[in-house]
């Protein structure tokens, strides 16, 4: 698990609930989901029908204004109309096409000046970028953005802010924001813009943030209600969630991403590095379009985990036959400590369960693996192929890793 994007709604809640009193107003925002009943909302949030509102999608993509997906200065009726017009409709943002499902409604904050702040994590320091000219197209004014680097383990001081020329009325907010960035294990944060009203209260208008997925165990309380949505355009499959759960519960690593369920090239790959190399080789051969999945298992998963993993891939692969058949790579490098025999015993169990479909759907299997007990593992899978009458081609560590790919693809 690496950095994970979170919703604007969650990012603002995380920050605003923890800023010391007097810096910013308590958060008022309503997250509307794909089935939220809009008419019921004013009862719970009376301000919705008393104030001017802003509404926008909250699905981890930016540049919403450019895509005409922001409505400002509206009343609740207008917001309703906007949401109903867009909800569950597909839009294309960059290369990704997906349905709009989540919207964020907030009170409209009247303001003059727009500030920009972002915090990023680098190897030895965190870097704060600040601009008093925030808002749309900040990139064009990047030469006037102020940069403050804070070494890892350090704190942000008002002296630093003063010497960077940051307006004094923002000091307290920025010191506390940085403190929360560190203690809540953010890995990225951008508020563009935020503003400060005449009473000196800070309002966060647009916000993007990422948390460190690996720090989950440090924040059982703080992160309790934080959602980690899939990225926009990435169709999520229950099978991916199943493997992700298996991964969380296991000491080993189990990853699965479905790229194209209609693809004819399926993979049960091992190793974070080797798995990408196999993908690269298939794409280099011009068959990227046929790639059905990415994934890898490593760190010596148990027989049962290997079985569950292989079964999940085989199940997806055999849902619909293709007249020309399909190809399955069960491949990896020479393992350091993953027991090839144990993991293959799990994979073989799954193969046997699906043997009927493997035969009728003309599926060819190419195996390449080395590592602890690989001789027995390879023999097992070889014999299983014979027994099931499924073509399984088996290679050991003496065959160069990616040399199995080209000949296999030729026959596809």
């Amino acid at each position: 698990m690496a950095s994970k994007k979170i919703r604007e709604y969650d990012a603002k809640r995380l920050i605003l609930a923890r800023l010391p009193k007097g810096i910013a107003a308590a958060y008022r925002g309503v997250l509307v989901g794909p089935t939220t009943k809009l008419d019921a909302l004013p009862k719970q949030f009376p301000w919705l029908v008393k104030e001017k509102l802003a509404v926008k999608p909250d699905q981890l993509f930016g540049k919403r204004k450019q895509y005409n997906l922001v409505l400002l200065h509206s009343d609740f009726a207008g917001v309703k109309k906007f949401i109903l017009a867009h909800r569950n409709k597909k839009v294309t943002i960059g290369k990704a096409t997906d349905a709009l499902t989540h919207f964020l409604i907030e009170p409209m904050i009247a303001h003059q000046q727009e500030y920009y702040i972002s915090i990023t994590s680098q190897r030895t320091c965190d870097v704060i970028y600040f601009s008093a000219e925030g808002g749309f197209n900040i990139e064009e004014r990047w030469d006037r953005v102020k940069k403050i680097a804070i070494p890892v383990g350090g704190t942000l001081s008002t002296t630093q802010l003063k010497s960077a020329g940051i307006p004094e009325k923002l000091h307290h907010f920025m010191v506390e924001l940085y403190r929360l960035y560190v203690t809540l294990d953010f890995t990225y944060l951008e508020i563009n813009p935020f503003c400060i009203d005449v009473k000196g209260t800070v309002h966060l208008l647009d916000m993007v943030a990422q948390l460190d997925g690996c720090a989950h165990f440090l924040h059982p309380q703080d992160w309790k209600n934080v959602e980690f949505p899939r990225s926009f355009g990435n169709k999520s499959y229950p099978e991916e969630e199943f493997i992700s759960k298996l991964d969380e519960e296991s000491g080993a690593s189990l990853k699965l991403t479905i790229l194209n369920p209609q693809g004819r090239i399926w993979n049960i790959l091992s190793g974070g590095g080797a798995s990408i190399i196999y993908l690269d080789t298939i794409v280099d051969a011009g068959l990227g379009k046929e790639l059905a999945n990415y994934g890898e298992y490593s760190g010596n998963p148990t027989r049962e985990e290997s079985y569950q993993y292989a079964k999940t891939v085989l199940d997806l692969m055999t849902r619909k036959a293709h007249p020309k058949g399909k190809l399955l790579f069960i491949a990896g490098a020479i393992a350091n400590f993953t027991d090839v025999k144990e993991t293959f015993m799990g994979i073989v169990r799954a193969l046997k369960e699906y043997q009927e479909k493997l035969r009728t759907q003309k599926i060819r299997i190419i195996v390449r693996r080395g590592g602890p007990n690989y001789e027995q593992g390879l023999k097992l899978i070889h014999d299983t192929g014979r027994e099931m009458k499924v073509p399984i081609e088996v290679h050991g560590p003496e065959t160069p890793m990616v040399s199995i790919v080209a000949p296999a693809l030729e026959k596809l």
Binding site: M1, A2, S3, K95, A96, T97, S121, R123, T124, V152, V182, T187, D212, C214, A215, F217, S231, F232, G233, N234, G251, S253, K255, T257, L259, S270, G271, G272, G273, A274, S275, I276, D280, T281, I282, V283, D284, G288, K289, L291, Y294, E296, S298, G299, R303, G332, A333, I334, A335, N336, F337, G370, G371, P372, N373, P397, P400, M401, V402, S403
Partner: protein, 612 residues
């Protein structure tokens, strides 16, 4: 050691988290390299102390185990390396403690999924202390012929095949640990082998970077060719390009950045490694390969071309007279581990134990061949479980119900019987539950509760031989043997034992045939002629009904029934049932906080001879 070296043939290491396999793998490597001394001098495992046993060649050695890093460091001031095998949850503190210890120079962190901020804090600390971190999320690394971290280099066959037991001329650094063996093999096929190979791990912020190690290789006169395998994500390659331009890296350097396929996906794919995600175009594999190539670094056209590129470059170095390939040496022969030899089918040994009733070697423990979860799912009761574990089969339900009835009926018989009495006395002497239970169970024998087996034997023998019941009674009398299963202290023909009535009723109703019960009742008729209380008692009734159950179930051969009777399943059934009551009495005494029991002296006849 030179500044460009992290490890040599005398490096001593501390190992965090007592994991026998990687520890042994390290010592095995030491041995085949002909190191004089094992590389691991101490193991740290919270809450443990004493020693860990391991092999150095064929000889068993002990490695001291410490509770804390600080303690281990104090005892081993020569140890310069901590190999941290802690899980991601607990990896941070030992790493930090080691970086703060003056004698530790290198910390290798194996765990994957360590929070970024923790890693970055360690990086800052390492920089301040001028120390090196390898990892996190890595298999570690290897200095050929000198030192190995954990599992790096894989199995011994691979170490030998890739010639890792003696130094070659190639310096390798890779983000991926899983690709290390593949690369070691490629390098062994095409060159004189590696001098050093480090996997920095796939995290966004590795403790040491590709460049850190390349700079060491540049300074190492034994390394003539450098190879780096990188991945999409991050900008380390641009630092390498900068170092190349500044002439800080002058030796031939072959690099490949994996992840060229990422471009075809319509959304950002998070690959297996946390750092393997290209946020911006210049962090993509294609852009980085292109930039490296432009900077004069040797970049093959694909990973598949890597092997031939390495061969070409190595041959070129020799052709140009820039180096001489290192000579091969003979690794020390490592004795095969017994377990591995068994796995490979090279040795065999007779087992000392045999079992036929249950197993704990599979995914789930079984009774017979049935997983315990199935036993529960099928709603099996104690009777069925006894069937599986004692009789090794699924008993007909009338049989298993009968067993359960026997258990219910004989579970307890008050505190005064000898078993309960003994258990109570032991409990009151302050003995624990299990000891007190044993004390009670030990009274079960020929005079207490142990009549079932003998009753089975006598009744079966007589009935099978068609001895007329009256004659059986007379024969026993002649032999001076009381018939087991006949007679009660208080119950009589007119005051029958209700338990016996229940058992009889059950047997007559549920068993297909009850020849032994009928025989026993005929015997009872004869004995009642002699005395009112010579009735068929509970033990006797259980005995004959057990015989009837075995016979009428059709599930047992004659031979099997003989064996059951001969071994003595009946008393076993009583011991099992009565344990329930005995435990009840023991718990009762404990609750009552009863004091030590001392028998009153006036209740004892002191019959001693007269003393002088």
């Amino acid at each position: 050691m030179k500044p460009y070296q992290l490890f040599d043939q005398d490096t001593q290491a501390l190992f965090y988290n007592l994991k026998a396999t990687p520890i042994q793998r390290m010592l095995d490597f030491d041995y085949v390299c002909r190191r004089k001394k094992p590389s691991i001098v101490g193991v740290i495992h919270p809450g443990r102390s004493g020693f860990h046993k391991a092999f150095f060649g064929a000889v068993e050695i002990v490695i001291p185990v410490y509770d804390r890093v600080g303690e281990a460091v104090r005892h081993h001031p020569q140890a310069s390396v901590l190999i941290n095998f802690a899980s991601f949850r607990s990896s941070f503190l030992p790493s930090k403690e080691a970086l703060l210890a003056p004698s530790i120079k290198v910390v290798a962190i194996v765990a994957e999924d360590i929070p970024q901020r923790q890693t970055r804090e360690l990086i800052a600390l390492a920089q301040q202390q001028k120390k090196t971190i390898i990892g996190p999320a890595t298999v570690g690394g290897i200095v050929a012929g000198k030192f190995r971290i954990g599992y790096a280099g894989g199995m011994m066959e691979n170490i030998i095949k890739a010639k890792l037991y003696r130094p070659g001329s190639v310096g390798l650094v890779s983000k991926s640990g899983g690709m290390m063996n593949e690369l070691f093999n490629i390098i062994a096929r095409t060159t004189d082998g590696i001098s050093e190979g480090i996997a920095i791990g796939g995290d966004t912020f590795p403790g040491s970077t590709l460049l850190d190690h390349l700079l060491r290789y540049e300074a190492n006169p034994n390394i003539h060719l450098m190879i780096a395998l990188s991945e999409l994500g991050g900008r380390d390659e641009y630092d390498i390009i900068k170092a190349r331009k500044e002439k800080k890296l002058t030796k031939p350097l072959i690099m490949w950045v994996v992840g060229t396929s990422a471009k075809i996906f319509p959304w950002e794919v998070q690959f297996g490694h946390a750092g393997a995600k290209a946020g911006k175009e210049e962090e993509g594999a294609e852009a980085k390969n292109k930039a490296l190539r432009a900077a004069g670094i040797i970049v093959p056209s694909s990973f598949a071309e890597l092997e031939s590129t390495i061969q070409e470059q190595f041959q070129k170095l020799i052709r140009e007279g820039k180096m001489k390939p290192k000579q091969d040496t003979q690794p020390a022969a490592l004795p095969l581990d017994y377990k591995d030899a068994v796995k490979k089918g090279l040795v065999r040994q007779a087992t000392s134990f045999t079992t036929t009733i249950s197993s704990d070697v599979g995914e789930e423990a079984t009774y017979g061949t049935m997983p315990i979860s199935d036993v529960v799912a099928k709603g099996y009761g104690i009777g069925e479980v006894i069937g599986l574990l004692w009789f090794k089969r699924k008993l007909p339900s009338n049989f298993s119900k009968f067993l359960e009835m026997c258990i219910v009926i004989t579970a307890d018989h008050g505190p005064a019987v000898s078993g309960a009495h003994n258990a109570i006395v032991a409990a009151r002497a302050g003995k624990d539950v299990v000891s007190s239970l044993c004390s009670g169970l030990l009274t079960i024998g020929p005079r207490f509760g142990g009549a079932i087996d003998d009753a089975c034997r006598y009744f079966k023998q007589a009935c099978d031989a068609h001895v007329p019941p009256v004659q059986f009674v007379e024969d026993m009398k002649k032999k001076g043997i009381l018939i087991p299963g006949i007679g009660h202290r208080v119950k009589s023909k007119r005051n029958p034992d209700k338990r016996v009535e229940l058992l009889k009723k059950y047997g007559l109703k549920h068993f297909a045939k009850t020849p032994y019960l009928h025989y026993a009742l005929e015997v009872e008729k004869a004995t009642l002629q002699k005395a009112e209380n010579l009735i068929l008692n509970v033990d006797g009734c259980i005995a004959v009904l057990l015989l009837d159950a075995l016979m009428s179930s059709g599930a047992f051969s004659i031979k099997e029934i003989d064996e059951i009777v001969q071994i003595g399943y009946g008393n076993a059934l009583f011991a099992l049932a009565r344990s329930i009551g005995l435990i009840g009495h023991i718990l009762d005494q404990k609750r009552l906080k009863s004091e030590l029991y001392r028998h009153p002296t006036e209740d004892i006849l002191y019959l001693l001879g007269e003393g002088n």
